[in-house]
C-alpha cells in the first residue's frame, strides 16, 4: 500500500474510532495486548538478569564470568534454560505431591500480578490515528497498597514449597522466609507511607507525576529510602538477608528438593521480585520516568531500574550474610521504630 492509500483510509478509520462500541472493543484489545506484552517481557527478564548477575559477580571477583557460550558468554542463559528444561523433575517420595507441584506456581503468580499496576511511562500517542495509549495496564487508586499486598503473597509459595518437600532444610528455609517476610513487610510499608503522605495519593501514577521536575522523593525522604531499601533487600531474599536459602547452613533452603522447571520457577520468581522491587524503588523515590527530556521517559525508567538492579547485585557480592537473630533485631528494633519515627517527622513537617 502506498502512502496515498493510507491517507485515504484515515477518515474511515476515524469514523470507526468514534463509535463507542468500537472504542470499547479496542480498549479491551489494548489491555489484552498490554498484558501479553508485559507478561512476555517479564517472563524473559531472568535471562538477561542471570547473565548480568554472573558477569557482575565475575568482575567483582576479578574473574570473567561466563565466556564460552556465544561471544562473551551471551548465550549462557539460553543454554542454562535448555538444560533446566530437560533435566529430570524429581519429586521426593515422601513429599506432598500436590503442594510440591503447586508451590512454585503459587510463588510465581503474585510477582507477575504486581506488574498489573506498575506504570512504565506516561501516556504516549500513536501517530496518524491520534490514539492515546497509557504505558500501564491499570491505574489503580490503591496502586501501592495492591503492590505491597500482592508481593507479600508470594511467600506462601515459599512456605508451602518448604513444607511440602518434607525435608528439614527446606522446612527451615520456608519458616525463616515467613518470619522474615512478616518482620520486614511492616518496615517496608511504613517506609512507603512517608512517600504517600507527601504525595497525598496511593496511585503509583500520581506518585510519579508528583515527582516531576527533580522533586524526587529521595531528597525529601532519605531515611525512608534507606529503610525501604534495606527492607526491600530482605523482602526479595537477597544477600545480606537471604536466610531462606542460606547455602552455608541450609543446603539451598526452601528449594533444596526442587529440580528442573520447578526450580526454574522459583529462580524466575526471585528475579522478577528483584525487578519489581527495583521498579518500586524507582517509582517511589527516583521519580519514575521523569528525567531530562533528551531521552523518552521509558528509557529513563529502564536506565534507573537497571542501575537499581545493579546495585542489588553489587551488594550481593560485597556483604556477608547476617545471622538470623541479627536479622530479626535489625527488623524489629531498628527499622520498625525508625520508620515510625520517619512517619511522625514527615507528618509534623507537612502540618
Amino acid at each position: 500500500m502506498g502512502q496515498e492509500e493510507i491517507r485515504g483510509l484515515l477518515p474511515v478509520l476515524e469514523l470507526y474510532l468514534s463509535n463507542p462500541l468500537v472504542i470499547m472493543m479496542l480498549e479491551i484489545l489494548l489491555i489484552f495486548i498490554k498484558v501479553v506484552v508485559v507478561t512476555l517481557v517479564v517472563f524473559s527478564l531472568p535471562l538477561p538478569l542471570t547473565y548480568m548477575e554472573r558477569k557482575v559477580a565475575g568482575h567483582i571477583q576479578v574473574r570473567l564470568g561466563p565466556m564460552r557460550v556465544g561471544p562473551h558468554g551471551i548465550l549462557q542463559p539460553l543454554a542454562d534454560m535448555i538444560k533446566l528444561f530437560f533435566k529430570e523433575d524429581i519429586i521426593p517420595s515422601k513429599a506432598d505431591p500436590w503442594l510440591f507441584r503447586i508451590a512454585p506456581v503459587i510463588s510465581m503468580v503474585p510477582v507477575f500480578a504486581v506488574f498489573a499496576t506498575i506504570p512504565f511511562g506516561d501516556k504516549i500517542t500513536i501517530p496518524f490515528i491520534n490514539y492515546e495509549v497509557s504505558m500501564y495496564i491499570s491505574d489503580m487508586n490503591v496502586g501501592i497498597l495492591y503492590v505491597l499486598a500482592i508481593a507479600g503473597l508470594s511467600v506462601y509459595g515459599i512456605i508451602l514449597g518448604g513444607w511440602a518437600s518434607n525435608s528439614k532444610y527446606a522446612l527451615l528455609g520456608g519458616l525463616r522466609s515467613s518470619a522474615q517476610m512478616i518482620s520486614y513487610e511492616l518496615a517496608l510499608s511504613f517506609a512507603c507511607i512517608g512517600v504517600v503522605m507527601i504525595v497525598n495519593s496511593l496511585s503509583l501514577v500520581d506518585i510519579v507525576k508528583a515527582q516531576s521536575g527533580w522533586h524526587w522523593n529521595i531528597f525529601y525522604q532519605p531515611v525512608g529510602f534507606v529503610i525501604f531499601f534495606i527492607a526491600g533487600l530482605a523482602e526479595i531474599n537477597r544477600i545480606p538477608f537471604d536466610l531462606p536459602e542460606d547455602e552455608g547452613t541450609l543446603g539451598a533452603g526452601y528449594h533444596s528438593e526442587y529440580s528442573s522447571m520447578r526450580f526454574a520457577f522459583f529462580m524466575l520468581t526471585e528475579y522478577v521480585a528483584m525487578v519489581s522491587m527495583s521498579i518500586l524503588a524507582v517509582l517511589l523515590f527516583f521519580g519514575g520516568w521523569n528525567g531530562p527530556s533528551f531521552l523518552p521517559g521509558i528509557i529513563w525508567f529502564v536506565i534507573k531500574v537497571v542501575l537499581c538492579i545493579y546495585f542489588f547485585m553489587w551488594t550481593r557480592f560485597t556483604f556477608p550474610r547476617y545471622r538470623y537473630d541479627q536479622l530479626m533485631s535489625i527488623g524489629w528494633k531498628v527499622l520498625l521504630p525508625l520508620s515510625l519515627l520517619n512517619i511522625l517527622i514527615t507528618g509534623l513537617i507537612i502540618i
Binding site: G58, W314, I330, V334
Partner: protein
C-alpha cells in the same frame, strides 16, 4: 544498633559516638561497596584455557617423557634399560637391539621403548638414571584421551621434536587454539603471543 556490632564485649558496652555515627551512616558498608566497585574494573586474572590461552610450564616441569637426539640428529638412547630398572612403578619397557647403521650414538639402540602413562607417577627417577641424557620429562601435560590404548606411548612418538622448544623459558600464558581430534583433545600454543597478569 548494638546488635549490629561484631565487636568484642569490651567495646560493645561503651559504644563511642564515632562508632555510632559510623553505623548510622553505613560507613563500613559503603567502604566495602567501594572496594568491590574498584575490583569490578581491574584486569581479570582468568586464564581462558582451553579456548584462548594456555599455561606453558617452566623447564623444570615433569610432563610427558621425551626421547632426545644429539646435535647431529643421532638417537641418544642406547637401550641400556637403566630407566626401566629404576622406575618404581615399572611402567617403562625397553627392548634393545644392535644397530650398525649409525642411527644412534653407539652400536646399540632401543628397538622398543614404551611408557605406560596409566602407571607413571612422573617422579622423574628414570630421567635421573639415564646415562646419556636421552630421556627427559617434557612439558606436555594434556594427556587425556578417548581410549586406554593411547596411554601407552612409544619411542616413535616420543622421539619427535617437541612442540615447545627446549630453550623456551616457560612460565607464561600464551595464546592457544583448541583442537579436537578423534583420539584426543589438544590445545595448540602460539608462543609468539605471551601474556602475564602478574
Amino acid at each position: 544498633m548494638n546488635e549490629l556490632s561484631t565487636d568484642n564485649h569490651k567495646n560493645s558496652s561503651s559504644l563511642s559516638i564515632k562508632d555510632l555515627l559510623k553505623k548510622v551512616f553505613f560507613i563500613d558498608l559503603i567502604q566495602g561497596l567501594f572496594i568491590t566497585f574498584n575490583y569490578t574494573f581491574t584486569k581479570t586474572i582468568t586464564e581462558r584455557y582451553p579456548d584462548d590461552e594456555k599455561w606453558i610450564p617452566y623447564k623444570r616441569f615433569r610432563g610427558l617423557h621425551t626421547l632426545n637426539r644429539n646435535k647431529e640428529g643421532k638417537e641418544l638412547c642406547v637401550g641400556c634399560e637403566l630407566c626401566q630398572k629404576s622406575c618404581p612403578t615399572q611402567c617403562i619397557t625397553v627392548i634393545p637391539m644392535e644397530d650398525k647403521t649409525g642411527k644412534g650414538i653407539a652400536d646399540r639402540i632401543a628397538y622398543r621403548w614404551e611408557i605406560n602413562l596409566l602407571r607413571c607417577m612422573f617422579c622423574g627417577l628414570c630421567e635421573d638414571a639415564c646415562p646419556t641424557e636421552a630421556l627427559k620429562l617434557g612439558r606436555e601435560y594434556e594427556l587425556a584421551s578417548f581410549s586406554m590404548q593411547r596411554q601407552i606411548r612409544s619411542k616413535e612418538e616420543l622421539i619427535k621434536p617437541q612442540p615447545i622448544p627446549v630453550e623456551f623459558e616457560g612460565g607464561v600464558i600464551v595464546r592457544a587454539t583448541l583442537e579436537k581430534g578423534d583420539k584426543e583433545i589438544k590445545v595448540k600454543p602460539d608462543l609468539s603471543v605471551q601474556k602475564r597478569w602478574w
